[in-house]
């Protein structure tokens, strides 16, 4: 029973990891750029929720659509101002552009909001959910459901809308997409907007249970990388399933073994998978 | 010198090559032709060690070499060029050729000497100091041949070296292949440009759908009804002597 409880807890947190990774893999799939500043989108989403709550007493759950919209704007703007200029640059300069952005965002957050830990106290989301003898925190359950809904919405968008199809076409073959009259610049901006919005929503969902501070993104970015690579760079579905897998491995590993080593466990799993299957679990060869 | 014995290569369930057999004698020029998708490039990549064959054998002077990696094939005397040129863009022309020469001459001064010799042979010596990325397409193709020659091969595999060249440049390329042969180096030439390969090949191997459909001297091939039907079309006749 305890093990089942642990496994399900792993699934819950894994679903949130998955949402962060879905955004990251979307950007990678469309542009072949690994975004080191992705955790900072999550951080911004957390702060947006925090300030909505602190200033206007609006619950993070209610401001969630606004947070998503705000982060979409941040992502798209970041593309227009910075990323647009490094589309064809060598991998190293791309890595360092987004790495610099990561430091810049953390610095800005510290400058405006101080390095203090903040938290959202007294959200509507408190208490526990009991289910068939198992017990979970309500915020965790809501966060997981919200993450599933958002990932599902992204998946539906890519599969079933014209715009989503255009985005997928750009990811598959930029030149062919351009010949079909798809504006790559718009698609790239869209990918960054969506990617940032996913991370922002994850941040909002976590804001009621997680401390909020300028470097909070660091705790998620490594896992997000692992999920993206594990699921196959650019594969949204892959990142989603990898998220659940990693959440379970992390929580169960921490439970059965030493919690200090759960990161080692997850990273070793990742290395093993990419070594046996370099394209990831669901990536195209 | 080289014998290909019932070479078969499958990708998934699809056979790109099936039971391909032919021989290359010392200093011979073999033309490997066939319509698009006939499996020429697959044969080529198997010979160069880039694809391990699914079955069959490749022998170099009687030694089985199928499945050896490209670097081992190069060491055994099989050098190649690429259909889409792969020059080292951050290097000068001379440095490109030096990388080839270093296979048998590790020391830099010796490699420079060998590389200059190869560049003189192919007529690229006046561009030795230029960045390789500044060469024209024809020169880049010539650079790849030079680089392969610097490995001092016994067998040179040329992959569509003449595609995309002007009439004059094709003529120069033909001359070069003949001079390479004169050095006793055998050549397997995959080619689409017929006027390039027909006059110089000792024998032609024609592939269609992964199989050898004809193998013989160019004149006979050009008149072979099977080949004509499969590939050459009505308008082509072997050039007179």
């Amino acid at each position: 029973m305890l093990l089942l409880q642990t496994i399900l807890s792993g699934v819950l947190i894994g679903l949130v990891y998955a949402l962060v990774a879905v955004g990251l893999t979307l950007i990678f799939g469309v542009m072949d750029i690994v975004n080191f500043a992705h955790g900072e989108f999550l951080m911004l989403g957390m702060y947006a929720s925090f300030w909505g709550f602190a200033l206007w007493k609006l619950d993070p759950l209610f401001t969630l659509p606004l947070t998503a919209l705000l982060l979409f704007g941040v992502g798209a703007a970041l593309y227009r101002v910075v990323i647009r200029r490094i589309t064809d640059a060598p991998m190293l300069s791309q890595i360092f552009t987004t790495f610099g952005l990561m430091i810049l965002f953390r610095g800005l957050a510290q400058y405006f909001w101080s390095p203090d830990f903040r938290s959202v106290e007294g959200s509507v989301l408190t208490g526990k959910v009991a289910f068939a003898g198992l017990q979970f925190g309500l915020p965790q359950v809501v966060a997981a459901l919200g993450a599933v809904a958002t990932s599902g919405a992204v998946w539906w968008f890519l599969r079933s809308t014209r715009l989503g199809a255009a985005l997928e076409a750009t990811a598959a073959d930029k030149e062919a997409a351009a010949l079909m009259g798809i504006d790559a610049q718009k698609m790239f901006a869209l990918a960054w907007g969506l990617g940032a919005a996913c991370a922002g929503v994850a941040g909002a969902l976590l804001s009621t249970t997680f401390p909020i501070f300028p470097e909070v993104g660091a705790s998620f970015i490594l896992f997000a990388f692992v999920l993206v690579a594990l699921g196959g760079f650019g594969s949204v579905a892959g990142a989603f399933w990898a998220g659940i897998l990693v959440g379970v491995v992390e929580v169960v590993g921490g439970f059965l073994w030493d919690p200090a080593y759960k990161l080692v466990l997850v990273l070793s799993l990742y290395l093993l998978v990419v070594w046996l299957r370099p394209q990831g679990l669901m990536g195209k060869a | 010198m080289l014998s290909v014995e019932r070479l078969t290569k499958r990708f998934g369930g699809l056979a790109a090559n099936e039971d391909v057999s032919f021989e290359v004698g010392r200093g011979e020029i073999i033309g490997l032709i066939g319509p698009n998708g006939a499996g020429k490039t697959t044969v080529f990549n198997s010979l160069a060690g880039f694809f391990p064959p699914s079955s069959g054998q490749i022998r170099l002077d009687g030694q089985p070499v199928a499945g050896l990696p490209p670097e081992r094939m190069a060491a055994l005397g099989v050098a190649r060029t690429f259909q889409i040129v792969r020059i080292f863009k951050s290097m000068t022309v001379l440095e490109n050729v030096m990388v080839g020469a270093m296979l048998h001459h590790r020391a830099v001064p010796a490699a420079i000497g060998k590389a200059r010799e190869a560049l003189r042979f192919t007529g690229l010596d006046r561009r030795a100091g230029d960045p390789a990325s500044q060469l024209t397409v024809a020169e880049q193709k010539r650079l790849e041949v030079t680089r392969a020659l610097a490995c001092e091969p016994r067998l040179l595999l040329l992959d569509e070296t003449m595609a995309g060249l002007t009439q004059n440049e094709v003529q120069e390329a033909v001359e070069l292949v003949k001079r390479i042969q004169a050095r006793g180096i055998a050549c397997v030439v995959v080619e689409h440009v017929m006027e390039g390969i027909m006059p110089i090949a000792d024998r032609m191997v024609v592939l269609e759908r992964g199989r050898v459909i004809a193998n013989g001297p160019p004149r006979a091939i050009a008149e072979d009804p099977v080949v004509v039907a499969a590939y050459l079309g009505e308008e082509y006749r072997a050039p007179g002597p």
Partner: protein, 331 residues
């Protein structure tokens, strides 16, 4: 004066400057900053052999730096072995470890390789954090009583560290120079440019990538030993962190990857930026230094991806090359 001659003159001037600096400037802060510069430069040069010349972007090089620091410190603490020997022992252990790590990781390319090296780095850091024998998260400290040249511990003045750091940097540059002047250097550049073409010319990718990582990691480990001796305290956070790995590659990029002097120039630049933004804005505790630092990295990465030396090359082309006929290769 040709560009090569100008480069030699600048290099010589920099060497003289580095040699007399601590004799002229007596401020301990400035002396320390310059030692830091030399140490970071040495690590950048070491990283550059694998990441710059061979094009295998490692973001886990702190593992090798840390190996050097831990091996020499353990040898000194347990067996009283001088760090002068420990330095080379660390380099050897690090090179062996690098081969073990590199063997599987070299199956991966581009982003995949870079990500795998981050993962390896984080794993090693987490493992050492929990390893009692290595002092765990607290780390190891070297006793201050055994001072002098033999123990590589100096408490009266920073001067000796400065010259050891300078010597180690020159040694590392020398090794790098020898590599570029041998077939290994040409092969590494060939592997970076066109791996398949390199193979077709007889270059074994695995073998030469392993040479590169062994050399690169061994040299980084020597830097680790020097760090341990200078700080007398090592812990996983300071010697094994991913941010340290990233810094090694960052200086190479800022100066110009795949060039001899690039990482040195990058180290001077980066350390200056860091120290200036820390001194100028750091006191506020409001992250202004991070803002400046991050912004500068972005601006350099976006507008000058080839680094300082790339800019020099554009600005002062090596005498007018004969006009190339037609556009360079078609793709």
């Amino acid at each position: 004066m040709s560009r090569a001659a100008a480069g030699r003159a600048v290099g010589l001037a920099a060497l003289v400057l580095a040699a007399v600096f601590p004799l002229v400037v007596r401020s301990a802060t400035w002396q320390n900053t310059v030692i830091l510069m030399l140490m970071v430069a040495q690590l950048g040069v070491a990283w550059n052999i694998l990441g710059g010349y061979a094009g295998q972007v490692s973001l886990g090089h702190a593992v090798f730096f840390g190996t050097g620091a831990y091996v020499s410190t353990l040898l000194a603490l347990r067996f009283g072995i001088t760090p002068w020997v420990g330095m080379f022992a660390g380099a050897g252990v690090s090179a062996a470890l690098a081969v073990v790590i590199g063997w599987p990781c070299f199956r991966l390319k581009g982003h995949y390789f870079a990500m795998a090296t981050i993962a390896v780095g984080e794993i090693v850091q987490a493992v050492v954090n929990g390893w009692e024998l290595l002092g765990g998260a607290v780390g190891l400290s070297l006793p201050l009583q055994n001072t002098g040249f033999w123990f590589m511990v100096f408490n009266r003045s920073k001067l000796p560290y400065h010259y050891i750091a300078l010597g180690l940097l020159l040694f590392t540059l020398g090794v790098n120079w020898l590599v570029t002047r041998s077939h290994v250097g040409y092969y590494l550049r060939a592997i970076k440019d066109e791996p398949d073409a390199a193979r077709s010319l007889g270059v074994s990718l695995t073998r030469y990538k392993l040479y590169a990582i062994a050399l690169s990691s061994g040299l980084a480990a020597m830097g680790g030993t020097l760090y341990a001796q200078k700080e007398l305290l090592i812990d996983p956070g300071s010697t094994l962190s991913t941010s340290l790995s990233i810094k090694m590659s960052l200086v190479a990029i800022m100066g110009g990857v795949g060039t001899l002097a690039g990482p040195v120039i990058g180290a001077v630049l980066l350390t200056t930026i860091e120290e200036a933004s820390r001194l100028g804005f750091g006191g506020t505790g409001r992250g202004t230094d991070m803002v400046v630092y991050g912004l500068l990295i972005v601006v350099i990465a976006v507008y000058q991806p080839a680094g300082v030396l790339g800019w020099v090359k554009q600005r002062f082309p090596p005498k007018a090359a004969p006009a190339a006929p037609g556009p360079g290769g078609a793709r």
